[in-house]
Structure formats: structure tokens, C-alpha cells
């Protein structure tokens, strides 16, 4: 099951003086939904195009399904692509577009029609066969592009930001449809996106790219809870960073002095690369901090603070809390429930945290 379908080894690609891919190595597993996530210009499209065969790497090796792809033209690779602008052929009907790649297979009209019907059903476009491709909406074009690629049963489907041109509602709908489609057909999907929410909700595994390199490949949960470095932590979601100093190891764990929160005991495991005396950054997500309401007060360790700012989102409220005795402000997110009032600015609050969810960098 966990056979790699794509193996990338030290792939380099430069455009003049720009290094677009700086030694990318990764394995993409047969049948998984894999996302490439990173800021604009980090090389995601270049990597995808190198896999598809549209860019020749300067050095390094790309293998698909165990075959070295060096020198294999794009039209001979077992991959198909959904282009960012969909690249729908404007002089053809929907059926002409979807069946475009089939003509080479010489299947006969009946079989071709049947496959086109089936592919259109898969993307919920039944009855669109004779529609002029130019008259389609953005979402429909996207479905046609999907059907056109999937009808060829590629080993890997490559998608370059396929949802970025759609409005929010449609995008969310297509996210789950795409996910379901991938499960149904069992084809490996490689999705390029700069939308972290999209990557986290849709993928089995996510690769984070910065400046032409992959810095972390992991499941969405791991990516969120255990980012590999400060850069990833800052990129994914929001995180509070507090100055901290590593103390000595004890039998219960390692002591860490965190500014504003005081002395904590952390599992030695999670302190690992740092040693006593190191100045580090302690990262904690806003939802791992809790404002204590009176009735919840009690045993937990707390820090005192004052609400300096507040953003209300309906289901959630984000408080910026200035910690007592420091210049440090942390963001705390609270789910709004019936017995929690929205606190006014300037309120004095006590906050509590979960030491297990603190990550040191």
C-alpha cells in the first residue's frame, strides 16, 4: 500500500539567476492526496511542472511508478494536469474537451461516448456534452478540466491551484467534492495551493515549501501541532511566541522558564534539541490558551493579564492579553458559549495553558 508513486531526488531547477527548486527530495505515496503548500514564488508550480514534464530539472532525478522520467516527454508521462486557468479548448464542445486525450487510443465512437458520459457523471456535469466550452462558468470549466484529465486514468493527477479562481462558497464545495472524487477513483492527487486551510482539510499529507526547498512533509495534524521550525509555525495558523530559557532536567521533565507564564515542566522529549541555558522561543497556539471564568478557577496554573484588544468572529472571540509584569501580549481564542460573556477591553483576566501544546524553537 505504501509504495511510492513519485520519487524526487535532489531536484534542482534555476531560471537564470533565480533558483526555483533548490534540491527537492520527497516521496509521494500511491493513492494519497498530497499537497504542496507554500508562499507565492516558492517553486510549487515549477515542481509540479517538472513532474508533469514541462520543465527539465538542471539536476536530480524524478521517478514515477519506478520509472526514471529523465528525457521522457510530457505527452508520454503517466501524469495528467489540471491547469490553474483550466486551459479549456475554446473551439470545442464539452465532449470534445473531455474526449480530447481519448482520440489517440482509437476506441471507437460508442466506447468513447460511454467514457465521456461516465467522466461527466463523475464531475456532476451530465447532459453537458454538446455545450460550447466558451459558455461555461468558472466552476464548470474546472469540472471539465478534471474530467478531461481523469478520463485517461493517469497514475498521478497534478492540480495547480485549481480552486483559487472560484468564489468562497464554490471553493468550499469543490474542496469536499475533490476529496471525495480522489477517494472514489483512488488516483494519487498532487495539489498545489497557497491556501493552508485547503491543504489541511483536503490532504493526507502536506509538504511545506519555502524558497525552493521542502522543509517539512507530514500529516495535517502533525504539521499544525508539531511544526518543524519557526518558519513553518509562523506560516501555518497563528501562534504566540514567548521568550523562554531552558532550565535543568528533572525526573518529571525539563524545566523551562517562559516569560509571562513562569516556570513550566515540559516533557524532556519535546525539549530535546535544546540544552540547559539555551534561549529559545516558546510557541503556543491561541486555542491552547484559556481565559478562566470565575467558576472554572481553581487548581490550574495561571498567569494574570489585562485585555488589550478584542476581535469578535461570531463563533469565536480573539483576545489580546497583556501579561502581568511584562511587555508580552498573547492572543487567546475562546469559543463563545452561553455561559461565557464577551469580556470588555481592560478587563483583568487569568489565563491558563496546556504545557503539552507548547513547542520550543
Amino acid at each position: 500500500m505504501s509504495e511510492p508513486i513519485i520519487e524526487l531526488q535532489e531536484v534542482f531547477k534555476t531560471f537564470g539567476r533565480i533558483v526555483a527548486l533548490n534540491g527537492v527530495s520527497a516521496e509521494i505515496i500511491q493513492g494519497e492526496f498530497f499537497s504542496l503548500l507554500g508562499p507565492s514564488g516558492c517553486g510549487k508550480t515549477t515542481l509540479l511542472r517538472a513532474i508533469a514534464g514541462f520543465e527539465d530539472p538542471d539536476s536530480g532525478n524524478i521517478r514515477i511508478d519506478g520509472r526514471d522520467m529523465t528525457g521522457v516527454e510530457a505527452n508520454r508521462r503517466p501524469t495528467n494536469m489540471v491547469f490553474q486557468n483550466y486551459a479549456i479548448f475554446p473551439h470545442m464542445t464539452v465532449a470534445g474537451n473531455v474526449g480530447f486525450g481519448l482520440t489517440r487510443k482509437k476506441l471507437g465512437t460508442t466506447e468513447t461516448m460511454r467514457l465521456i458520459d461516465e467522466a461527466l457523471r463523475m464531475v456532476s456535469l451530465e447532459g453537458f456534452q454538446e455545450r460550447d466550452a466558451r459558455t461555461l462558468s468558472g466552476g464548470q470549466k474546472q469540472r471539465v478540466a478534471l474530467a478531461r484529465a481523469l478520463i485517461l486514468r493517469p497514475k498521478v493527477l497534478l492540480l495547480d491551484e485549481p480552486l483559487s479562481a472560484l468564489d468562497r462558497k464554490l471553493r468550499e464545495q469543490m474542496q469536499s467534492e475533490l476529496r471525495n472524487l480522489q477517494r472514489a477513483v483512488g488516483i494519487t492527487f498532487v495539489l498545489v495551493t497557497h491556501d493552508q486551510e485547503e491543504a489541511l482539510t483536503m490532504s493526507d499529507r502536506v509538504a511545506i515549501m519555502f524558497d525552493g526547498s521542502i522543509v517539512q512533509i507530514s500529516t495535517p495534524e502533525e504539521l499544525y501541532t508539531a511544526p518543524a521550525n519557526l518558519q513553518v509555525a509562523e506560516f501555518i495558523g497563528s501562534m504566540n511566541f514567548l521568550r523562554a530559557t531552558v532550565g535543568r532536567a528533572t525526573s518529571q521533565g525539563t524545566e523551562v522558564e517562559v516569560e509571562g507564564l513562569g516556570k513550566l515542566i515540559m516533557a524532556s522529549e519535546s525539549v530535546k534539541p535544546h540544552s540547559a541555558g539555551d534561549n529559545v522561543s516558546a510557541g503556543i497556539r491561541p486555542e491552547m490558551l484559556t481565559v478562566l471564568f470565575d467558576e472554572e478557577a481553581g487548581t490550574a496554573r495561571v498567569a494574570e493579564g489585562q485585555i488589550a484588544d478584542r476581535s469578535y468572529y461570531g463563533d469565536m472571540t480573539y483576545y489580546a492579553v497583556r501579561l502581568e509584569g511584562t511587555e508580552q501580549t498573547v492572543t487567546v481564542s475562546m469559543r463563545n458559549t452561553a455561559n461565557r460573556p464577551i469580556l470588555p477591553l481592560g478587563s483583568r483576566v487569568r489565563i491558563n495553558w496546556n504545557a503539552d501544546s507548547i513547542v520550543l524553537f
Binding site: 495528467n80 491547469f83 486551459a87 460550447d132
Partner: protein, 295 residues
């Protein structure tokens, strides 16, 4: 009041100013295009009586134009020459336009297009004489071929006949064909070609299935642009066409001048104009139809 009045005031001011703006070109177009055509149409229904014009309405000129074999021969020859020139020009222009659009780096393209128009800096007559030098009995081609030992006698079929007219006109009209084809090729979204590659097509089939159909409007435009004016050309056949290379336009010229029969010349001119217009319309229609069927 306030804003609405100002807006309405602006509109009232703008409408006439628009008309005023287009009126000079409009007047120009009427004076130089519509009036002469109207004059030719009118004359074609009159009769020449030695020195003066008989202005009673008659269809005699058209009867003659459509029944005399000599006019039919010249008309058919003109159409055949124009069709050949159109075909040659478009076949010649397409690879050039394709090369500039697909293989010249973006920042060099305008330079290339500029260079292609350079022949237009010299007068058309000058270019015809150059072709005479190239194609002539003792011309560049014959001289070279004889010196290389490929032929012993100078070739005589390349000047003072229809071939020479076709060669000269094809060269002269090439830029007019290159430009519309180039524009059509430039408009093709390159990701469509990548998509076709991605779906498994090689270079040739990609060209036939994507590039060519999408460039077809430009090719049609080029064909029409070349076909229509070459039917009316009379300078080229006069200078390089020899006795058997004369075309309908030469006959029209003859009627207006030496033969002193402008009404017949006008009837011939109007007839050939209608034939060309009809053929062009049919051509465009057929291709539209074809395009729609393919999709």
C-alpha cells in the same frame, strides 16, 4: 437637482461632440469611397456616343460584359491568378508568422514585425522592377542556374507570363497576410498547447488540433485581405505579365482610356466587384460553417 442636472448637462454636451469628432473621417469616407462607387454605378448604365455620353438608362453594357467570351476569359484568369496568389501568400506567410509568434523571444517580436514591413518603404514599382531583374531572361535566377550548369538555355516561363504575376504579387502581399495570422497566433493561450501535450498529443497533432483551428480566423482574414485587392491589380500584370498575363483590370483600364468606352469599363468594374464580393462571402460562410461543425 444638483448632481442629476450636472450629469444630464454633461450628456447633452457630449452627444454632439461625438458626432463632431467622427465627422471628418466620415466625410472623407463618403467623398472618397461612396461617391466614386456611386459615379461608376451610374456611368455603367449609360452609353458612350463617340464624344458624349447618352444618359438614358440601359443594361446593354452589362449584357456585353457578361456575354463576350473575352471578358469571361479575363475574369476567370483574374480569379485564378488571385486565388493562386492568395494560396501562395498564405502558405508563405503562415510559417513566418508562426516562427515570429512561437520562436522569437517576446522582447524581439515587435522588431521582427517591423523588419517584415520594411519592403513597404520602397515604392511598389521599384519592387516590380527588382523582380524583373531577378526573373528576367538575363536575370539573377537564369544567370545563376546557367553558371551552376543546371540549365543551358535561360528559363522563359518565369517572366512575362502569369507565373511572374503570381510570384510578384505573392511577395508584395506577404506582410498583409503575415500580420493577421501573427495576431491570431499571438492570441492563442499557450497553456492550451501544454494541455494538449499533457493529454498525450505530439507536436504535429497538437498543431492540427489546437494551433491551426485557433489561428483559422487570422488565416481567413489574411486570405480575404490578399484576394480582394489582387483581383483589381493592373500594374503588375502590365509590367511582368506579358501578352498572355493580362487580367480583367487591364481590360477595365483599356475601356476607360484607349477604347474610350467608360460605361463598358464601369460595367466590367461593377461586375467584377460583385463577383469578388460574392466569392468572399461564400468563402467566409463556408469556413464559419466548417469551424462550427468541427467543434
Amino acid at each position: 437637482m444638483g448632481a442629476a442636472a450636472i450629469v444630464r448637462g454633461r450628456w447633452r454636451f457630449r452627444l454632439p461632440s461625438g458626432l463632431v469628432l467622427v465627422s471628418p473621417p466620415l466625410l472623407y469616407a463618403i467623398l472618397l469611397l461612396a461617391l466614386p462607387i456611386a459615379a461608376v454605378v451610374t456611368i455603367s448604365f449609360w452609353t458612350q456616343n463617340y464624344l458624349d455620353l447618352d444618359r438614358t438608362f440601359t443594361l446593354a453594357n452589362y449584357r456585353e460584359a457578361w456575354s463576350q467570351p473575352v471578358y469571361r476569359v479575363l475574369m476567370l484568369r483574374s480569379l485564378a491568378v488571385s486565388a493562386t496568389v492568395t494560396l501562395c501568400t498564405v502558405l508563405l506567410a503562415f510559417p513566418i508568422a508562426y516562427f515570429v509568434s512561437f520562436h522569437v523571444p517576446q522582447h524581439r517580436k515587435s522588431l521582427w514585425i517591423f523588419l517584415i514591413t520594411i519592403p513597404f518603404w520602397t515604392s511598389y514599382l521599384m519592387r516590380i522592377f527588382l523582380w524583373k531583374v531577378i526573373l528576367g531572361y538575363n536575370g539573377v535566377i537564369n544567370g545563376t542556374l546557367i553558371r551552376l550548369g543546371i540549365i543551358e538555355e535561360p528559363l522563359s516561363f518565369i517572366l512575362y507570363n502569369v507565373n511572374a504575376v503570381v510570384i510578384t504579387l505573392s511577395h508584395a502581399w506577404a506582410p498583409f497576410a503575415i500580420l493577421p495570422i501573427f495576431v491570431a497566433l499571438e492570441k492563442i493561450d499557450r497553456s492550451l498547447l501544454e494541455a494538449a501535450t499533457d493529454l498525450g498529443e505530439g507536436t504535429v497533432r497538437k498543431f492540427l488540433r489546437i494551433t491551426l483551428p485557433l489561428a483559422l480566423p487570422g488565416v481567413l482574414g489574411a486570405a480575404i485581405i490578399v484576394f480582394i485587392p489582387t483581383v483589381g491589380d493592373y500594374v503588375t500584370p502590365r509590367l511582368v505579365g506579358g501578352p498572355n498575363g493580362l487580367l480583367i483590370a487591364n481590360m477595365i483600364e483599356l475601356q476607360f482610356k484607349k477604347a474610350n468606352n467608360p460605361p463598358l469599363g464601369a460595367a466590367l468594374a461593377i461586375s467584377s466587384m460583385l463577383i469578388v464580393a460574392a466569392l468572399s462571402l461564400i468563402f467566409v460562410r463556408l469556413n464559419r460553417h466548417h469551424l462550427r461543425d468541427r467543434s
